[in-house]
């Protein structure tokens, strides 16, 4: 792999950009791999990269039914933060945030991680109490999160309407300064390139259709549109389709899949300096480097794999955006899309072993797993290599729905992502 650097850019500029090589190879599948990862999103590709880099396991294939980043990795609104409430969540999201900070250097790929600050608006006394509880919990955990008065919030984000007469008045906000955004496609591409460089096979346009098991019940490989491919271990990391793939191994999951939508505006000059979220009125917004406002809407109420969603969900969030930021009322929206998210009953992810030997699962990241990508991928690689969860992911087991040790982040976060 030829390193990306300012010199590489200068060299290519001199010779008409003819020397750039393909970022990853597209090999034909081998007969068998030590590890097959189902799903070429950020989590799956990242896990393959860390398997090779940190565990020396390179006979690995990532199998993706479409193109890299065509799933939720390329559909999300890229909000990154770690100020969750419960230890189990803080452990993994903070681990992830630390990896984000050095990810571009580690991968030699600019993932454009931008710690521009994530602000959460408080609209009433209940919000305020809940958010301050978060702040205290976060600080005990060494995670930055601070309280802002409405005036401080306005100073940090000038477009915000803090008038007492506003439709949704604000009595303060929290700010995680290390939170922010990153370039979603670059995350998939950067991991794919770095994994491929270490010998991992990235196999696109290949759908997993079945999971084959040996006489002792353990996995032996996958049936795909390119035929049978053997595997000693299989990890499933297919976001909205995790239930479908786990069913191939006769495992029923505590998941339901729903569309989640996002939309972007026409590009504008830089106007919006940070990420703002409001749980109470459901709005979240940031501005991309291209200048588009990036807005996240909610999930539909019913199970669906349609990668689309109801228009009323979009208008609901736009109503809130127009009230919070009156200057955006005349902005035109350019594109809207949906992605299928896999949601658990307690809205926390599942990463761990399954009842099937050598079958691992990474799922339930639902509406908020982009921020977890490096951390989740890193710990998933550990799980696959060692056969048991890493300390930082130890609470995210599948069997918590039997034991009752739920991680009730649903009540704590209250909003998508």
């Amino acid at each position: 792999m030829r390193k990306y650097s300012i010199f590489a850019v200068a060299r290519e500029a001199m010779r008409g950009h003819k020397g750039w090589e393909a970022q990853w190879t597209s090999p034909e599948p081998r007969k068998e791999y030590d590890v097959i990862i189902v799903g070429g999103g950020g989590h799956g590709l990242g896990a393959a990269y860390y398997l090779a880099k940190e565990h020396g396991i390179t006979n690995v294939a990532v199998i993706e039914k479409g193109w890299l980043g065509g799933g939720n990795t390329g559909r999300n609104t890229t909000i990154i933060r770690s100020n969750y409430l419960y230890d189990e969540s803080m452990n993994i999201y903070e681990h992830s945030l630390k990896l984000w900070e050095g990810l571009s250097q580690d991968l030699n790929y600019n993932v454009m991680y931008s710690p521009r600050g994530v602000m959460m608006l408080s609209h009433n006394i209940n919000d305020k109490q809940s958010f301050q509880r978060h702040i205290h919990a976060n600080r005990l955990h060494g995670i930055d999160n601070e309280w802002l008065t409405p005036e401080q919030a306005k100073a940090y984000c000038p477009p915000l309407d803090i008038a007492a007469t506003a439709r949704y008045p604000i009595n303060g906000a929290t700010l995680q300064r290390r939170g922010g955004t990153a370039r979603h496609d670059a995350v998939a591409w950067g991991y794919a390139r770095a994994a491929s460089d270490r010998g991992v096979h990235v196999i696109q346009n290949c759908e997993v259709k079945g999971i084959r098991r040996g006489p002792d019940g353990s996995v032996s490989g996958v049936e795909t549109t390119k035929g049978f491919i053997g595997a000693k271990k299989i990890a499933v990391s297919a976001s909205g389709h995790n239930s479908v793939i786990m069913a191939m191994a006769d495992v029923r999951m505590p998941l339901h899949s729903t569309p989640l939508q996002a939309l972007v505006s026409e590009p504008m000059k830089p106007i919006f300096p940070c990420v703002v979220m409001s749980n109470s009125v459901h709005a979240y917004i940031s501005q991309s480097d291209k200048g588009e406002l990036v807005i996240g809407a909610g999930t539909d109420q019913y199970n669906s794999y349609s990668q689309n969603g109801g228009l009323q969900i979009v208008t609901h969030t736009l109503d809130a955006i127009c009230e919070l930021f009156p200057m955006f009322r005349r902005v035109k929206m350019m594109r809207q899309w949906g992605g299928i998210t896999d949601n658990t009953p307690d809205r926390s992810a599942i990463q761990g072993v399954t009842p099937v030997k050598n079958l691992f699962v990474n799922c339930g990241w639902g509406t908020g797993g982009f921020k977890a990508t490096p951390g989740s991928a890193h710990l998933l690689a550990h799980l696959i290599a060692k056969g048991e969860p890493h300390r930082l992911a130890a609470g995210l087991t599948l069997d918590r729905f039997r034991t009752g040790r739920l991680i009730d982040e649903a009540a704590a976060a209250a909003v998508a992502h």
């Binding site: 389709h241 239930s243 479908v244 029923r252 019913y302 794999y305 349609s306 689309n308 039997r402």
Partner: protein, 118 residues
């Protein structure tokens, strides 16, 4: 936005009038204190989450207020049938229009067809 047929009001109404009620045909155990953790997990948390036909509950919350069941294709979001609570899963004709009725009217209310959880 979905257009949903309420079998009680006998009308297609906008999704805004309805609240989704999760999977249909799941029977709440009557001996809740006696069942094992595995049985509770099965009843309460585990779901098929099918890519294809799902049987689900809806409540016409801003209409008649009643719960009913529907069969819907989760890929196209097309409704295949809407039927009253307590009626068995309908035989699906597949090619029915959005507001399709049952392929055949249910013969009678049959509690024994309501799910397999104990």
């Amino acid at each position: 936005m979905l257009l949903i047929y309420c079998p009680y009001c006998e009308e297609d109404r906008s999704e805004l009038e309805f609240r989704h009620g999760g999977d249909a045909h799941i029977v709440r155990p009557t001996n809740m204190a006696d069942i094992s953790d595995e049985e509770f997990e099965e009843f309460f948390f585990l779901r098929d989450n099918p890519k294809g036909v799902i049987y689900e509950r809806w409540r016409h919350i801003h209409g008649c207020g009643r719960f009913f069941n529907a069969a819907r294709d989760t890929v196209s979001d097309r409704f295949l049938a809407s039927y009253k609570t307590g009626e068995p899963k309908p035989a699906l004709s597949g090619a029915s229009p959005a507001s399709a009725q049952l392929a055949e009217p249910p013969a009678q209310i049959d509690e024994t067809t309501e799910g397999t959880a104990k």
